[in-house]
Amino acid sequence: MSCPGRFGGPFAFRVLFAGPGRFRETCRMSVASEVVTVQVLLFARFAELLGTERLEFELPRPASVQSVLDRLLSLPGGAGLPRRPLVALNQVQASPDTLLQDGDEVAVLPPLAGG
């Protein structure tokens, strides 16, 4: 995992002098304070619209499901998405205001058509 800003933040001193175990922890804390990295999955017609089935977004914290939708709408093809699609967060349906954590999987689901 990348660690932007690891030498520029308030934990830089501990990074340099606390050994490798401490380094990993400090790195995580520094990233957690700035951005959330999430996997975005697209299916069926939505994957066609955006031209891909998988994206990785780094979003400023705090980030919500709505942050992902806003970013998608700004991408080429994204204007064809509905304003409030079904969304699953880590395989469970979630509302737009649900907050995201690092490593979350956000799936944007076209109208279901099973059966």
Partner: protein, 152 residues
């Protein structure tokens, strides 16, 4: 158990899996690929899924059915991939001591599968166009376009 299958569904196998000597009522449902949709001739269908969530939702639906009808046992399979006209897309078998619970549990499972399991289908029409089935759209699908223009 895997509920999504890429090979033909086996309703007889599902019935055998839920039937015991205490369960005298068996109800089943088979959903087949139709040759028409919204007035257009359909040649074949492609089913795709968000597989991990679909498996999870199918398991949840069966657990709910079991909670509502504790004496019933229900089995379920849904096909994904390319299906031709007449192929079974979904199969449900419910067995219970009596028919009321068997019918009710079978109906519950198919309705919940259609309502919440993340599966999609793309229709290929006789006129060479394709369209995504959208049960929430007025015509039942998004406007079709030439098949040559589709993403793979």
């Amino acid at each position: 158990m895997a509920f999504l299958r890429e090979s033909p569904l086996d309703l007889a196998g599902l019935i055998a899996a839920v039937t015991t000597s205490e369960r005298g009522g068996v109800a089943s449902f088979l959903g087949l690929v139709r040759n028409h949709h919204a007035g257009r001739e359909v040649l074949r269908l492609e089913y795709s899924a968000y597989a991990p969530m679909a498996e999870r939702e199918c398991a949840a639906v069966l657990a709910e059915a079991h909670a509502r009808w504790p004496m019933a046992q229900v089995a379920l399979e849904h096909r994904i991939g390319t299906l031709k006209i007449g192929d079974a897309a979904v199969a449900v078998a419910a067995a219970a001591p009596h028919r009321d619970e068997a019918f009710a549990a079978c109906r519950y499972v198919i309705e919940e599968v259609k309502r919440r399991v993340p599966i999609w289908k793309r229709e290929h029409y006789a006129d060479g166009t394709v369209g995504w089935v959208d049960p929430t759209a007025p015509g039942g699908s998004v406007p079709a376009r030439p098949e040559a223009g589709q993403a793979s």
